[in-house]
């Protein structure tokens, strides 16, 4: 394995591992805040038990997210020192703000996890909310840094002397891509986490469909995840329209769009052949790509034929990842619609085995979409590390033997993934003995759920 490929794979693997924990870290505090708020308002023990049970899992995810994030901040330099030497002063702004946000988050997390009964109730609840807000803030900021790589701004570049001048860190942070990327990632984090949590609780409901603890958990998670899943395709559309103009090579790779044309068709599925420029199998919906990308069926969509060969991203990987992301995302949107319909008009469905299995099987789909989406945007940007300015191969560390650190990272993170899963299993196993409210049941026949509170849904 060459060093460049090893470096890219190591970075991809580190990011892919971290993003799962980052998503959980961004969204879970809000789920917990909802449960916790309902407890404070109603005194209903189920909500207290739920926020405590969730907190235990979240603490583990947070620690793993924090250390994998630390690794990433160093890996920027360990793997891409040439990139960091030039990019550091330009896009460091979002990173320094992210550092502040994450610092606040770590402090708030300490207060939240350890402050039960030690600090006033509302301060305690607020600290949980602050964890979420600063988590989302740091997510937005770090994505703004990534957006800069796709849409470089805030500097002048002279290719002859390879110098970067007139640096404007604020313009760099607010580059043209930051908003669409940040919006898409935040919605993705809430979708992925919401459905993952809902899925776990749905699975646990299959044998005891009326269990109140898991029903309330699933509903809170589906509320958050469902809204996000519904909004996500709109965000995706904004992103695609933006990419069509700024990074036509990326769009062409996503769509396996080899030939520039008007009335460009939207490809569903399909296996691209990068040598011949053909796509086998797959369904093309005429004109739809032009319409989605540019708002006009007649508008020309740039194909790979207009991109110099040495600037082509890997088409197959980008295309497959894109199809997976859109497929999973669309599926989740439809599940969300089903849930909102059932919850309003057919509450009995929420205890039905088929519904529960649907949610349970959807557990990994959000995270799958997140990983696929990141693959699209990162692989689709190749061969550039700074779009149009610096190539990835010119950014990599000169140190040889990177495959060994790659293997090490794979082994360590693989081990952690197994351990975290095992720990989650143990948390689930002990729910009944730790929480009395696990014995409570919900009446699925009622149009509205009977709890001591107002209707929750």
């Amino acid at each position: 394995m060459g060093d460049l490929l090893a470096a890219r794979l190591q970075m991809a693997f580190s990011l892919g591992f971290h993003i799962i924990f980052a998503c959980v870290g961004m969204a879970m505090p809000f789920l917990m805040a909802i449960a916790h708020w309902r407890y404070i308002k109603t005194g209903d023990a189920v909500y207290k038990d739920l926020s405590k049970a969730w907190s235990k899992g979240v603490a583990i995810f947070f620690a793993t997210g924090a250390v994998s994030g630390t690794v990433l901040s160093f890996e920027l330099g360990l793997l891409w020192p040439e990139f960091m030497e030039h990019a550091g002063p330009i896009f460091g702004m979002p990173f320094s703000l992210e550092g502040t946000a994450f610092f606040i988050e770590a402090i708030a997390l300490g207060l939240f996890l350890y402050g039960w009964g030690k600090i006033p109730k509302w301060i305690h609840w607020s600290s949980g909310l602050v964890v979420g807000i600063s988590g989302v803030a740091s997510g937005i900021l770090v994505v703004a840094a990534n957006a800069w790589m796709n849409s470089p701004a805030g500097f002048d570049y002279d290719p002859v002397s390879n110098t970067y001048s007139n640096i404007d860190p604020i313009a760099a942070m607010f580059n043209p891509a930051w908003f669409t990327q940040a919006l898409h990632m935040v919605l993705a984090a809430f979708t992925a986490t919401g459905f993952a949590v809902a899925g776990v609780h749905a699975f646990l409901l299959i044998r005891k469909p009326a269990n109140r603890f898991h029903q309330q958990a699933m509903r809170i998670a589906l509320l958050v995840g469902g809204i996000a899943a519904f909004l996500q395709p709109i965000s995706g559309d904004l992103s695609a329209k933006d990419v069509a103009i700024r990074q036509p090579a990326k769009l062409a790779a996503m769509e396996a769009h080899f030939h520039t044309e008007k009335y460009a068709g939207l490809l569903i599925g399909g296996i691209p052949n990068e040598e011949t420029g053909e796509v086998h199998y797959g369904i093309k919906i005429p004109g739809l790509l032009s319409f989605l990308a540019h708002g006009d069926f007649k508008q020309e969509v740039v194909g790979l034929d207009q991109i110099p060969k040495d600037e082509h991203p890997p088409v197959a990987v980008t295309h497959f990842a894109f199809q997976i992301m859109v497929g999973a995302g669309t599926f989740l949107m439809m599940v969300a619609l089903l849930y909102f319909f059932a919850q309003r008009f057919r509450p009995r469905w929420l205890g039905h085995k088929n519904f529960l299995w649907l949610i349970a099987l959807s557990t990994p789909l959000g995270m799958l979409a997140v990983e696929a989406g990141w693959t699209v945007t990162e692989v689709g940007r190749q061969p550039w590390i700074i779009n149009g300015i610096m190539r990835t191969k010119d950014a990599v560390t000169p140190m040889p033997g990177i495959q060994y650190s790659f293997y090490t990272v794979v082994v360590v993170y693989g081990l952690l993934a197994i351990l975290v899963s095992w720990l989650m299993k143990r948390q689930v196993q002990t729910l009944a003995q730790n929480y009395d409210s696990m014995d409570e049941e919900i009446d699925l026949n009622q149009k509205r759920v009977h709890t001591k509170t107002e209707a929750i849904d």
Binding site: K52, K56, G57, A59, I60, F62, A63, T64, A66, V67, T70, V71, S73, F74, G77, L78, P81, M84, E85, G88, P89, G92, M93, F95, S96, L97, G99, T100, F102, F103, I104, A106, I107, L109, G110, L111, L113, Y114, G115, W116, G117, K118, I119, I167, D168, P169, T397, P398, M399, P400, S405, T408, V412, L416, L419, L423, R426, Q429, T430, N434
Partner: protein
């Protein structure tokens, strides 16, 4: 703005040593012996604050790559291996701690495993922080190295860097033990940490001369540098002179005094190091150095970074203060 950014960088590094380093130290002091009660006290003491404590490292890293990119690049390249090992230590230590406390089933076998990983992760992290730091000043970093060994091994795999690694470890362990004296009222537990504190202080003091010897062996005129700088002599002298008083305060279990003195000792040592080397951040093989001022980012970047740091501190420092105020009390704590 350069001064402000530099100040924050140095502040982050000092705070990381005092807080994050002590966090590692809490693991190291359990290396040779521990008791169930001590373990409990340690777990409770670092629980609410460890994630926040380690943020100073992230702040330092971000300031480095944004404010002093050339230095960050050289460190990331030449010292890739010790940094990588440090990261493995950080990963294992952090996750072992969280797993130990949040595993829903607390059976002996897994708790012991977590404990061992936590302790060894803390040790590895402490060692390699010191090794990286030592390597920066030694002068064996060669950006134009001809072969793998001289480029990526020799700069840090030497007597001096490794002895600085051990010194850092001892310092962190000493700090942790001192802080822990005040974390519990029970005399048995207090005595445990008092013993650890003065023993690790002895180790640190003993390692001091070894670091100088190692410097001499590896061709670094550290001692000469020290005696030619009046401020450094003063700092080191003051630290040395305070030692007997520090030992006495530890023996007597004086919580506030030992904490202040231990912190002051650490700041004096780090300060002396800084004074000896400023403005050089990294000493290179060919006798040159990478200087902080010369490696600084353009003014626009430093300005924005400086403001971000100042504004950020307005939020972070009070919040951090509140966190400490809430949790520095004793008594049984309701963890979830």
């Amino acid at each position: 703005m350069y001064i402000i950014v530099l100040t924050f960088l140095l502040l982050s590094l000092v705070l990381y040593a005092l807080l994050g380093g002590a966090d590692f130290g809490a693991g190291v002091i359990q290396l040779l012996s521990t008791t169930p009660k001590a373990e409990k006290v340690i777990g409770r003491a670092i629980g609410p604050i460890w994630e926040a404590n380690h943020m100073w490292l992230i702040i330092a890293v971000v300031i480095s790559f944004m404010g002093f990119p050339a230095i960050f690049k050289v460190i990331s390249t030449a010292l890739h291996i010790p940094i990588f090992i440090l990261l493995i230590g950080i990963i294992f230590r952090g996750t072992a701690y969280a797993f130990k406390h949040y595993d829903a089933i607390k059976d002996e076998k897994s708790q012991l495993m977590y404990h061992r990983v936590f302790v060894w992760g803390s040790l590895v992290s402490s060692l390699f922080i010191g090794i990286t730091f030592g390597a920066m000043s030694l002068g064996k970093i060669d950006p134009n190295a001809a072969d793998f060994y001289s480029g990526y091994i020799a700069p840090w795999f030497n007597f001096f860097s490794i002895s600085v690694g051990f010194l850092a470890t001892a310092l962190f362990a000493f700090l942790a033990a001192v802080y822990l004296i005040g974390e519990n009222e029970e005399s048995e537990v207090k005595e445990f940490f008092i013993q650890k504190a003065w023993k690790w202080l002895l180790v640190a003091v003993g390692l001091g001369p070894i670091v100088f010897i190692a410097a001499y062996v590896d061709g670094l005129a550290l001692f000469n540098e020290l005696i030619s700088s009046p401020l450094s002599i003063f700092a080191v002298g003051l630290a040395a002179a305070a030692l007997p008083f520090l030992f006495k305060a530890i023996r007597q279990g004086k919580v506030l005094l030992t904490r202040l003195m231990a912190g002051a000792q650490t700041i004096l040592i780090l300060g002396a190091w800084l004074l000896l080397h400023y403005p050089h951040a990294i000493m290179l093989n060919n006798g040159d150095s990478l200087d902080l001022y010369d490696s600084r980012a353009p003014d626009a970047t430093l300005a924005v970074l400086g403001w971000a740091l100042m504004l950020g501190s307005l939020f972070i420092l009070p919040a951090l203060g509140y966190l400490y105020v809430v949790f520095k009390g004793h008594g049984p704590e309701e963890t979830i």
